[in-house]
């Protein structure tokens, strides 16, 4: 989502090249890449630790897209509020 807000309204499809990063985690669907026993890590076959690794890659890709496509940089104080305040915590 780019920052194309003129009268405060955004129209049409907002595309950012950063969004393409969201395709990277889909590599975990290409099974021939990792359908093998070795090399093992902590005794775990490659098939397993490769996919656990991709949890991290998925988080990283989504996080970068989130950071790079924010409409306006907001200062995010850490959420250290009580449960009841959490709802409004970062709205104020």
């Amino acid at each position: 989502m780019s920052t194309a807000k003129h009268d405060g309204k955004v129209r049409g499809l907002q595309f950012s090249p950063w969004n393409l990063l969201l395709i990277v985690p889909l590599l975990v669907l290409v099974t021939p890449l990792f359908n093998m026993d070795g090399p093992r890590l902590f005794g775990m076959p490659f098939f397993y630790w490769f996919q656990f690794l991709f949890v991290g890659i998925g988080v990283l890709s989504t996080w970068i897209v989130y950071m790079m496509t924010r409409d306006k940089p907001t200062v995010d104080a850490a959420d250290k509020l009580s449960v009841d305040d959490l709802d409004e915590g970062d709205a104020r």
Binding site: V10, R11, G12, M36, Q51, V59, D71, D87, A91
Partner: protein, 547 residues
């Protein structure tokens, strides 16, 4: 009922009582001006922040059934069961952008269900009705399956009777759940989800560190699994995929990911959030649960090494594979910690069951009751109707589990996943394009559902001797297009839902071209292009929960 596990039962009951109190208190938590409005009862006031949404969505998507069924599948089939991991890895990158558009347009137009959106986008009550019915039909067995998860735990604690007495604890648990959901709406599962998820994280972390070290390390665990699978006659199991099930693995993961946020209960949690940034943060943070689910799946192998045997369901006389993980905890942990683990799974059944019943009730109220039965229902009447519907839905789920073989629900849920995927063109693609014609979409839905059901019907399961609805893996060799077999002789398997979706899209596209050629009226679009980008702080937003 003779060998009750008292310490486990006591801890389980205490934690269960705690969440019951929370559930009733939730109606006063973050209260809006009224609970007699679907915005409030059904969506918690549309104001949940990042943390609450994280716990709510986590509690909603990673259900008790998932927690018992995925390791059970790994236990019996091996690598194939791990599809849950890529499934929950790819889902967030895929739905991030469409979920934002859905939130925005729903916030502006006051949509509560996916069918509301379809109604507004295409001006078609029929298409909306089809989407609503698909949602309800797909959700109902999912609720019933939460009871299967809960029962697996109860059975391990010794509550394994037959007949109505054996089901009594389940009935009590669900009646309590039904009452506090009736009273507190979506706030109840949101609050309980905190307890559930924290317990789950503790249990899994302990299990995944303690059990392998106790049982000789991961290397030994995987090697025992290999030798077990080598001894079985079936060729589809093993700790790696084989040439024939890799396509099934990938398409099942992708198809499940595409289907997940089409389920009404997932959208309910998304729409309950306060703004777009909440959703974005959650799509980044939710994979923490995927990690947990992946680790949990590995417990299937741990159970093999520990020599676990599934319990026999006293009501049906058949082995209940879903008891693998509870029995593993029971045999390996001290009884008080097993009690905590069982409570985590048990409460893990309540959260999604509550959200699902609310989502189904919202669909009933908005897209059937208000559309066809009482057109000028006030918001108070809508809320009243939805509360009653949520009771009916939950009691229906209990009745199905008690009166019919649980296998029926498992089959139905398998079918439900294929069905809900067929709403993708009308719900998800419509967020981006109005190109599809509403009659094309209806035709695509009919074909996708019909073809999906036919294919599922034709799949046998040699393992349990079932002739029909034996699984979701279709051998490409059996794929038939009006009698023509394009992949004749191939044993490569693919996920049925995926094939049906392709058929759906092709028919929808052809139908669209024809309808446009014939200049059939394509409904009016209530939404404006800027609706899809609205955010929480924009001016002149529709007030929430106002009559």
């Amino acid at each position: 009922m003779s060998n009750l596990q008292w310490p486990e039962l006591i801890i389980f009951t205490i934690l269960f009582a705690l969440v019951t109190v929370l559930g009733f208190m939730a109606s006063r938590w973050q209260r809006g001006s009224t609970l007699d409005h679907l915005d409030e009862w059904g969506l918690g006031g549309r104001k949940f922040g990042s943390w609450i949404t994280w716990f709510l969505l986590g509690g909603d998507l990673y259900t008790a059934y998932t927690f018992v069924a995925v390791p059970a599948l790994v236990f019996s089939a091996g690598a194939l069961g791990l599809y849950a991991l890529p499934y929950t890895i790819v889902v967030y990158p895929i739905v991030l952008l469409p979920a934002l558009r859905m939130w925005s347009v729903s916030r502006v137009r006051g949509y509560v269900t996916p069918a509301d959106f379809v109604r507004g986008r295409f001006g078609s009550p029929i298409l909306a009705l089809l989407v609503a019915i698909t949602g309800i039909v797909a959700t109902m067995p999912y609720i019933a399956l939460q009871l299967v998860g809960l029962e697996a735990v109860l059975r391990t604690m010794g509550i394994n009777g037959s007949g109505i007495v054996g089901h009594l604890p389940l009935l009590v648990a669900f009646v309590i759940l039904a009452f506090y959901t009736y009273q507190s709406g979506l706030r109840a599962p949101a609050l309980i989800a905190f307890v559930k998820d924290i317990l789950i994280y503790i249990v899994i972390l302990v299990a995944i560190i303690y059990l392998p070290s106790k049982l000789g390390g991961w290397s030994h665990i995987f090697d025992t699994a290999v030798s077990k699978f080598d001894k079985t006659p079936a060729k589809t199991d093993g700790i790696l995929l084989n040439a024939n099930n890799q396509l099934q693995y990938a398409t099942l993961a992708l198809g499940s990911a595409l289907a997940l946020f089409l389920y009404p209960h997932s959208l309910t949690s998304v729409l309950a959030s306060r703004g777009r940034s909440v959703i974005k943060r959650n799509m980044v943070a939710l994979p923490a649960y995927s990690l947990v689910l992946g680790l949990l799946a590995l417990l299937g192998y741990v159970a093999i090494t520990a020599g676990i045997k599934p319990l026999t369901n006293a009501a049906t006389g058949k082995a209940d594979g879903n008891t693998i993980v509870p029995v593993l905890f029971d045999s390996q942990f001290s009884s008080w910690f097993a009690g905590i683990a069982f409570a985590a799974i048990g409460i893990g059944a309540l959260v999604p069951a509550a959200i699902m019943s609310i989502a189904a009730a919202n669909l009933w109220t908005r897209n059937i009751y208000k559309e066809y039965i009482r057109k000028n229902a006030t918001p108070q009447e809508e809320a009243k109707q939805a509360k009653l519907a949520s009771l009916v839905v939950k009691l229906g789920a209990v009745a199905v589990i008690i009166l019919i073989d649980p296998q029926f629900s498992i089959d139905l849920q398998l079918i439900g996943g294929v069905l809900i995927l067929q709403t993708l063109p009308a719900v998800a693609l419509a967020l981006y394009t109005r190109w599809f014609h509403r009659w094309g979409l209806i035709a695509g839905w009919v074909v996708g559902i019909g073809w999906g059901l036919i294919m599922l019907y034709g799949i046998p399961n040699p393992a349990n001797g079932k002739q029909h609805f034996g699984g979701s893996a279709l051998s490409l060799g059996n794929l038939s297009l009006f009698g023509w077999h394009p992949f004749s002789g191939s044993a490569v398997q693919i996920y049925v839902g995926f094939v049906a979706l392709i058929g759906n899209l092709v028919v929808a596209a052809i139908g669209t071209v024809i309808a446009r050629q014939m200049k059939v009226f394509n409904g009016t679009d209530d939404t404006e292009p800027e609706d899809y980008h609205t955010d929480e702080h924009d001016k002149n937003l529709r007030p929430i929960g106002v009559h």
